[in-house]
């Protein structure tokens, strides 16, 4: 079966280390997403799995076979590139058939595979076209088709949707997920877009500066970010952070507000506190007991229809805060002070220096 495993994989260009030792086990049929800001090493990691970049140290195996030093063609993989990398001088059909021809498959077999893939990708009527005669979405499909016909053990995707416009991106995202589910092929997918990452992944790896910050399912990462970085990266708009001081069961906020926490907090002293914008609700008379109250001086509102983003400052302090409230909720006015309530379960605390999550 096609599981992929990485053991202490490292990469450096000259003296500069870009990947600091990644351990990863990807199960057969799993959809794994590598996500992180640009320059975090996610693409390099993928390219090492592909064999386009040589690992400086460590071991990569696919289907139980060590492939660390093998050429890409001997790894039983297929890859979809960011700019599609279609051969401009070949027709859609030839683009898909090329790899099979090199592998020496017979004509009927090639024809059958290409036709079948074209069918499932709605490309059947475009087989004679050249890539330049296709739209962005169609090119994207051809690139997928080229990967599918090979029937590889593993699909690799390198930011395949970043050249598409927003609407098409959402559409192709769904198509990719559906296709991967139906084919059941192990897939590794690189993106910088956290929405794409969350929606596609069975599990995702958040990378930062050549390290895996956290590996887990989308909901695990959302609910229990292991580090300040993951907390800030996953979720949109990003989590609000501000410094706080913990003493016993009490948190002191920069505005001087004090919260007594119902749950046990081991942390003492300076911490970073995090609250997601969607967990700030307008406090009314009937706010449940035990909810902490934050007075917010509203500076700017962004109505998005279904919801409204409220930007402001914590009263008595400088900490900036964003809240995401129901668009139909009581009108919020810029220039006024409003009270928001937070369920203490939704408070995240992080070590001020290491950024690690505090339980």
């Amino acid at each position: 079966m096609a599981e992929v495993s990485l053991k202490q994989v490292k990469k450096s260009f000259g003296a500069a280390a870009v990947i600091h030792g990644i351990d990863l086990a990807i199960a057969d049929g799993e959809f794994l997403v590598l996500v992180g800001p640009s320059g975090c090493g996610k693409s390099t990691l993928l390219r090492m799995v592909a064999g386009l970049e040589e690992a400086t140290e460590g071991e990569i195996s696919i289907s139980g076979k060590v492939v660390t030093r093998l050429e890409p063609k001997d790894r039983d993989i297929a890859m979809v590139f960011q700019n599609y990398a279609l051969y401009p001088h070949m027709s859609v059909y030839d683009n898909m058939a090329y790899g099979l021809r090199i592998r020496g498959l017979n004509k009927e077999e090639i024809d059958q595979r290409v036709k079948k893939a074209a069918e499932s990708l709605q490309l059947a009527h475009l087989l004679d076209r050249k890539p330049r005669q296709l739209s962005g979405g169609q090119r994207q499909r051809v690139a997928m088709g080229r990967a599918i016909v090979r029937q590889p053990a593993v699909f690799l995707f390198d930011e395949p949707l970043s050249n598409l416009d927003a609407k098409l991106r959402v559409q192709m995202r769904i198509e990719i997920k559906r296709l991967q589910r139906s084919l059941g092929v192990t897939s590794i997918y690189v993106t910088h877009d956290q929405v794409e990452a969350m929606t596609l992944a069975d599990r995702l790896v958040v990378m930062n500066a050549g390290k895996a910050e956290q590996i887990g399912t989308p909901m695990e990462l959302y609910n229990h970010p292991a580090t300040l970085f993951v907390a800030g990266f996953i979720g949109s708009p990003s989590m609000n952070f501000f410094p706080a001081n913990a003493a016993g069961g009490t948190l002191e906020l920069p505005g001087g507000q004090r919260w007594t926490l119902s749950r046990q907090v081991a942390a003492q002293g300076d911490v970073t506190m995090g609250i997601r914008p969607e967990h700030l609700t307008l406090a009314g008379a009937n706010s449940p007991a035990g909810h902490a109250i934050l007075p917010l001086y509203v500076e700017l509102i962004e109505p998005l229809g279904a919801e409204t983003l409220v930007h402001g400052r914590l009263e008595g302090g400088k900490a900036e805060l964003t809240a995401r409230v129901d668009g139909e909720a009581a009108p919020v006015k810029a220039g006024s002070t409003m009270r928001f309530a937070v369920d203490p379960r939704h408070l995240h605390l992080f070590d001020r220096t290491s950024g690690a999550r505090l339980q």
Partner: protein, 282 residues
């Protein structure tokens, strides 16, 4: 232009047509002369209109050559020119495209040294090292041969630089996709690089064909057997210092024949020609 000025437009057209007239006149006059009898030309009675004997002059030029000074028939000379031009164009393209491929797609010890070795020759036209090169060709026993005419002119940095430049614009992902598809370096070259280079090859071919066809000093030096004369050298051999001995009607017909192939190439492959010119020089 930004404003409408009928008068200045008219002036512009006038200047252009005047320029074109000057550019065309010598050739027009040559064609006219090539249709007149030697007497007409010699007595100065030919005027500016076509004469009555076009076919005679061209038949003589093509199959016999000049009479008073014995020269090679133009058919033979044109064939020599054609072979030389083709060998130079094809040879140059072939050796430069593979060397550019080596320099761009491989890392190997001595790569930069090899590149600069080739690049520096950009500065050394054959004219500045004419006799030592002649000696090398003589030592190799290549005088009066097609190889001697073409091979020394084959190596040049221009074509290599052009291909190198073009290869740099082929996206890296295409190489990677080929690797994924299982193509090795030669397969990638044949299946992807060569088809993508088609336009560049064609443009370069046009320029190099003209370059080869119009060579003068080198063939003049390297051939002594008149059967190996190229047509450009041949015309020169038909002209002798004393006017009376020059068959101007044959010279003019031969000149027209010598201009025809390269001018036809420029006019009919205009787009490729301009592309080739601009990209080899810039």
């Amino acid at each position: 232009m930004v404003e409408r000025r009928p008068l200045s437009n008219l002036l512009a057209h006038a200047i252009l047509w005047f320029g074109i007239a000057i550019v065309i006149f010598p050739v027009y006059f040559t064609i006219i002369a090539s249709t007149h009898t030697p007497q007409d030309i010699f007595n100065g009675t030919m005027g500016f209109l076509p004469g009555g004997v076009p076919s005679d002059n061209y038949v003589a030029a093509l199959f016999a050559g000049a009479k008073q000074v014995k020269t090679t028939p133009a058919t033979v000379m044109m064939l020599n020119s054609l072979v030389m031009a083709l060998m130079i164009a094809v040879g140059k393209i072939a050796i430069s495209i593979i060397s550019a491929y080596a320099v761009v797609y491989f890392q190997f010890p001595g790569r930069m040294f090899a590149f600069w070795t080739i690049f520096v020759t950009l500065m050394l036209p054959v004219e500045v090292r004419i006799y030592p090169t002649y000696k090398v060709v003589a030592d190799l026993g290549l005088l009066d041969s097609y190889l001697g005419l073409s091979v020394p002119l084959i190596a040049s940095a221009t074509a290599t630089l052009l291909f190198r430049q073009f290869f740099m614009t082929i996206p890296d992902e295409l190489v990677e996709a080929s690797k994924m598809d299982g193509a090795g370096p030669m397969r990638f070259f044949w299946d992807t690089v060569l088809p993508l280079s088609r336009t560049n090859i064609a443009a370069l071919f046009v320029i190099l064909f003209i370059y080869g066809w119009n060579q003068y000093l080198w063939p003049l030096l390297i051939t002594t057997d008149s059967g190996m004369d190229t047509i450009i050298v041949g015309i020169r051999r038909q002209i002798v210092t004393s006017d009376a001995n020059t068959d101007w009607h044959i010279v003019m017909a031969t000149a027209v024949l010598a201009m025809l192939p390269p001018v036809a190439v420029v006019v009919f492959m205009q787009r490729l020609f301009v592309k080739g010119l601009v990209e080899t020089e810039k």
